[in-house]
Amino acid sequence: MLAFVTGCAGLQSAPVRFDRLSDCPKQTADELSAKQSQLGPFSDTHTLECALTVLRDSQDIALLRTSLGSRLCLHLAERETNPEKRAKLAAEGVELAEAALTHKGEDEGAVHYYLAANLGLAVREHITVAMKNLDRLESEMKQALALSPDIDDGGPMRLLGALYLKAPAWPNGIGDLDKALELLEKAVKKHPGHPLNHLFYAQALWSEGDEALLSQVKAEFALGEKLLADGNWGHNKAAWKKEFDAFRQELADAASAPP
């Protein structure tokens, strides 16, 4: 299976086995296709595992050419606390997206988006693997941005902006604060209702290291935090809260550091 993931160096790929599969409802590929829009952050984990199991065994081209498989893997990976299982689920999400692209997926922008999101998750624990996949990540995110810029509340802008923010800067890598600021400001303006757009934009502004921007950093952070607290974000809420907490701590550490 690993060989199938061309271009994604060093991903560990082996399907994660799920428990209680005997409790899954009998579903055909058609039935799964019909309800795919209902599967997401509000679905319970067992439901997602059952759906992924159906998809794994399916030969239905119409189903395999969608972004569903990759999206299911992403949701499951984001909920997984075991780093090894998380990486495997995300790697499977990359594979399924690759398979969808070979079948000329109809929602190609979404497929590239979930491919990039899974790839980012799969490599994040391993710096050498992550560095080798930076160009691939950028390429997939750029394609998602070109084809479906507004999917997932500006997800391609948010992810690509975050990539430019976090990656090693030139000349060592593709990191580019100017590009990050441009994309994340755009994400905030076009999709002001998503908490992570505000969090990532706050982080980019913070990276400027300019005291004059501190009030704007805090305002963006507070707005994102309020959106997270007030909104119904399903299973995403807990993971996103950790990201907010980590940045709040970073701001607090900087405030308490000696001048």
Binding site: I127, T128, A169, P171, L177, D178
Partner: protein, 278 residues
């Protein structure tokens, strides 16, 4: 030099004691870089764990303390009194007497253990460094003005009085400003100069100044708190790193071919230049 800093920090773990209930602090200074300290420490930690496993050292024997600010580096060195540190050449020269610092190991990049600095301008706009008197000069390396004046310009130009300095924590932003004509010149280190080909700037650039060869700085040790044996052990560990299967991946990733034990004579001319600069 960030990559070098990070990999050296990782490799430093391999000389730690077999049992280390209290991890040894490694101060890592990367003045002028756009680096999030949290991310940098996480990256170094990842690499430290690999080295500990490969070298059969106890996990978490060392921890890193990273800063991209020269002032903070001075402060951390004074507070933590680290046995080993990773500093820029400028900070080494400044702090060597105060902290009894001795160079231990140098990285070798593209076959070289030295680099040159260059002042870049839009092609044809200025003929020499003297033409840039009173003009704007940008660059990340300006975080260390004394070093640039005393070592890079060999005491012939005082950056603060000769140029209008525009410090930046991003080389790429400074180069874009140069491309647009918002800056008159940008000073680059070897790694930045080598990366120019990957940028898509509209105006061609040329160097109006190229420094003499300046040794790459790596790891330094406090000679008062480390023994000669510790320093040799440390140096040997690093020298063997890039030949190790796992270590080789890290070395390749960071573009370092090898680590070489320091010949103290290499740094003597720098020490003299620094002293001459007052």
């Amino acid at each position: 030099m960030r990559k070098t800093c990070l990999i050296i920090a990782t490799l430093l773990a391999s000389i730690s004691a077999n049992a280390a209930p209290n991890p040894e602090m490694i101060v890592v200074c990367y003045p002028g870089g756009l680096v999030n300290a949290k991310d940098a420490n996480e990256a170094m930690s990842s690499m430290l764990r690999v080295v500990e496993r490969v070298g059969q050292w106890q996990q978490n024997s060392f921890i890193s303390l990273f800063t991209a600010k020269a002032d903070e580096c001075r402060q951390r060195m004074a507070e933590k009194h680290p046995k080993f540190a990773i500093t820029s050449l400028g900070l080494y020269l400044e702090l060597r007497s105060q902290h009894n610092l001795v160079p231990v190991v140098q990285p070798k990049i593209k076959g070289l253990t030295h680099e040159r600095y260059r002042v870049m301008v839009q092609k044809g706009k200025y003929k020499s460094l003297d033409d840039l008197k009173g003009k704007t000069l940008g660059g990340t390396v300006l975080e260390e003005q004394s070093y640039i004046g005393k070592i890079v310009f060999a005491g012939k130009y005082d950056p603060a009085s000769f140029f209008v300095l525009k410090k930046s924590n991003q080389a790429i932003r400074a180069l874009r400003a140069l491309d647009k004509g918002e800056l008159d010149a940008v000073i680059l280190n070897e790694q930045q100069f080598g990366g120019l080909g990957s940028l898509h700037l509209e105006k061609p650039l040329e160097a109006v100044f190229t420094s003499e060869e300046i040794p790459l700085m790596g790891v330094v040790a406090n000679s008062a708190t480390t023994t000669a044996e510790e320093r040799v052990r440390f140096s040997k560990a690093l020298e063997g790193m890039c030949a190790d299967t796992e270590g080789k991946k890290l070395c390749e990733l960071f573009g370092v071919e090898a680590f070489a034990a320091v010949d103290p004579a290499v740094f003597e001319p720098m020490v003299k230049l620094w002293a001459k600069g007052g």
